[in-house]
């Protein structure tokens, strides 16, 4: 009978009902220009859930981006908000950091850095308020979600809280999170760890180890994130007990992604050992492709400024680097799975391929136990 089974496995989990989506495939919110309304909308239209990053986005710009997504799709989508609080208990040497960054400013013909640093654009309260006014159905938090949950729920949104440990998952669920996203060590970009260690270190638990331990600890759906790039990773995540998957790096190379050509070239050339955790961009740990910005900062041995002042210091450099196609001076966020990404696919094509691969993988596994 098995050989003539008329049904092919369909990816469907309780998360799909909860979020009103067809496939439990979430595109991560990605800053740095990767996210475009086209990319977010294409993932949602294909049956997944696109998350729109609000990082370095003013309330007005965020509103415009949300409306642009909505004009392109009638499916659910979400907004990703970084809610990490400012590090007020830390001091940093602004002069040393600016002096370090000035070497790049000279190359990019930028005015040299000053001591007068203002927090970068967009605080989470204002961003959340805009998202609620625009009736965005899903809020994805990076950082302790406690302050965000009540206003998001009041606005009718579901909260997907990124966590990096079992303890954080329990904390997020007790605070009312509807879903937790277990962010494994492999993941690219900013780490979600609520409270960093004494030397600024984030929790780095591999996805394979983290997900089942989180699943055992909470009663809400768990989304796996970190290193998932294809159907193999999706089925692995489901086996670990996840109700869905969140992919960033794979979608960052989609045709609709806004990454500049030099970034794309680096992402295609790099391998898993090149995606390293560092603190040069914001002062908080994040994973990016090793380049001059990362290596020279490491070599200079300068303690980053407290979050988000470090981001205020680096923002002009990375923005100019993107404009000049200078991948060596940009922040090339990427996860350890990067070499499994394919270049030049449309986002809808990626979603369809992931679903098809996952179905094939489930069928193959099933033959092992038959």
């Amino acid at each position: 009978m098995a050989t003539t089974a008329p049904f092919s496995p369909v990816l469907h989990t309780p998360l799909c009902e909860l979020l009103g989506i067809r496939y439990p495939i979430i595109k991560a919110g990605m800053g740095g220009g990767a996210d475009t309304p086209e990319l977010v909308a294409a993932v949602s239209s294909a049956g997944g859930l696109g998350l729109l990053s609000a990082v370095l986005t003013s309330p007005d710009q965020l509103r415009a981006n949300i409306r642009a997504v909505r004009a392109l799709t009638d499916r659910p989508f979400g907004v990703n908000v970084v809610v990490h609080p400012p590090e007020t208990d830390k001091r940093g040497d602004i002069a040393a950091t600016q002096a370090f960054l000035d070497r790049f400013r000279r190359e990019l013909n930028l005015p040299l850095g000053t001591a007068d640093l203002r927090p970068p654009l967009g605080n989470p309260e204002d961003q959340l308020a805009v998202a609620m006014e625009e009736q965005v159905p899903v809020i994805n938090t990076m950082g302790d979600p406690t302050a965000v949950i009540a206003p998001a729920h009041d606005g009718g949104a579901r909260v997907l809280a990124i966590v990096t440990t079992v303890a954080e998952a329990i904390e997020a669920v007790e605070a009312g999170a509807d879903v937790v996203v277990a962010q494994g060590a492999e993941a690219g970009g900013l780490r979600g760890t609520f409270r960093l260690g004494p030397d600024g270190e984030a929790a780095l638990i591999g996805t394979l180890a983290l997900v089942p331990q989180v699943v055992d600890a909470v009663r809400v759906p768990v989304i796996a994130a970190g290193g998932i790039m294809d159907g193999r990773g999706i089925v692995a995540a489901l086996a670990l007990g996840a109700a869905g998957v969140l992919l960033g790096t794979r979608f960052s190379l989609a045709r609709e992604s806004g990454i500049f050509p030099g970034w794309r070239e680096r992402a295609i050339a790099a391998t898993e050992v090149d995606a390293v955790v560092n603190r040069v961009l914001t002062g908080r740990p994040a994973r990016s492709i090793r380049n001059r910005l990362v290596e020279e900062h490491e070599r200079a041995g300068i303690e980053p400024l407290p979050f988000p002042l470090q981001a205020a210091a680096t923002v002009d450099v990375v923005r100019a680097a993107a404009q000049h196609n200078a991948a060596d001076l940009f922040y090339l966020a990427a996860g350890q799975g990067l070499r499994l990404a394919k270049d030049g696919q449309g986002a809808a094509e990626i979603v369809a391929e992931l679903v098809e691969e996952a179905r094939r993988e489930l069928t193959r596994l099933h033959t092992l136990v038959g």
């Binding site: 496995p9 996805t207 089942p212 331990q213 692995a236 499994l340």
Partner: protein
């Protein structure tokens, strides 16, 4: 037991379940290796610094406990400076016709021909795609890939979800075994989905009555959470600058920022206990990497308590055979549930 979770690798080795017990020095002795093999998996005994004669009698003891396939692991990096050579140790394994010869932290290539000529399969534990490719080119039969999650000595910076598919793509059709952070049936099925043909569990098998680890070490594993391990070079007395993942005990916490001072033997290192290898008593000094065995006495909490990030899945000391059975049955159920659950929805 039923033979229903079969991969090609199971057929290659003549085992029933794609579950290896990782070779852990002073922990995976004949009892633990035999218990895993008897349950249908593959126990890989560590050579545990035994001299050739000692290893020969350990293999004999293992054989007296099981008639199933098993493996013996040779930790190449630590043999330099011992009164015998890697050739001596491998020679014993070849003479004894062990079914699988496994290597770690060194070059397996010089031994592949000799092993194959004796009908012995060869495995190499690797930590990167590049090492995996080299192993396949050297004629190794099985590539064991250790992820960032793994307990014990490991230099991999890449975690398994990202690493296993890459290694699979790089060495296929050579079978890949995933190691690191896997503690139960969910991890087993996940690893199979990523392209592995078996898993190697270390930490979970330490918490068994058959493991020769010290009882206090087992208790510490049962109590620990996933946050309580750390990758360090702290226990660098005999094997300097070799990263390893251990429990973040109070002792480790206290010394973590002094790693540079703990590499290599130090005449001023305090003696913290003693252990037995065969009939020899060995004094233990602070920052030595030998994990405490049942035959170790002294300040156990100041010794290297190796553990992977799956340690939060270790909830009790359970017989090794039960763990193998739990994994096999759990994996079958899980795959059925994933597959049939998906189909059921499709019919709606």
């Amino acid at each position: 037991m039923s033979t229903v979770l079969q991969t090609r690798l199971c057929a290659l080795l003549g085992i029933e379940a794609p579950i290896f017990c990782a070779p852990m020095g002073f922990v995976t002795g004949p009892e633990l290796a035999a218990a895993v093999s008897n349950a249908g998996g593959l126990g890989i005994m560590s050579f545990s610094l035994n001299p050739p004669a000692g290893l020969r009698s350990e293999i004999a003891r293992l054989r007296s406990l099981t008639d199933r396939p098993f493996g013996v692991n040779v930790l190449l990096a630590v043999i330099d400076g011992m009164p015998f050579s890697a050739e001596d140790i491998v020679g014993v394994c070849v003479e004894e016709r062990v079914p699988l010869l496994s290597f770690f932290a060194g070059d397996a290539a010089p031994f592949v021909g000799q092993a194959h000529a004796a009908g012995i399969k060869v495995a190499l534990q690797v930590r990167s795609v590049a090492e995996a490719k080299q192993a396949a080119a050297d004629g190794v039969d099985i590539v064991i890939v250790q992820g960032y999650e793994a307990g014990g000595h490991s230099e991999s910076s890449v975690a398994l979800t990202a690493l296993v598919p890459r290694v699979f793509d790089a060495v296929a059709p050579v079978p890949v075994v995933a190691a690191g952070g896997i503690g139960d049936a969910r991890g087993l099925v996940a690893a199979l989905a990523l392209g592995a043909e078996a898993v190697a569990l270390g930490t979970r098998f330490i918490a068994t009555p058959e493991a020769s680890a010290h009882p206090l070490y087992k208790d510490r594993l049962v109590a620990a959470t996933e946050e309580e391990t750390v990758r360090t070079t702290l226990f660098g007395y005999e094997w300097p600058n070799a990263p390893h993942r251990v429990l973040r005990t109070r002792f480790v916490e206290q010394w973590l920022s002094h790693e540079q001072e703990t590499q290599g033997p130090r005449p001023d290192a305090p003696r913290i206990g003693e252990t037995q290898i065969g009939d020899q008593t060995l004094p233990l000094y602070r920052f030595m990497g030998l994990p405490p065995s049942a035959r170790t006495r002294g300040d156990i909490d100041s010794m290297a308590l190796y553990a992977g990030q799956g340690v939060g899945l270790v909830d009790a000391v359970v017989p090794a055979g039960e763990i193998v059975r739990e994994l096999v049955e759990g994996a079958q159920e899980l795959v059925e549930r994933l597959f049939l659950g998906a189909i059921a929805v499709d019919r709606v």
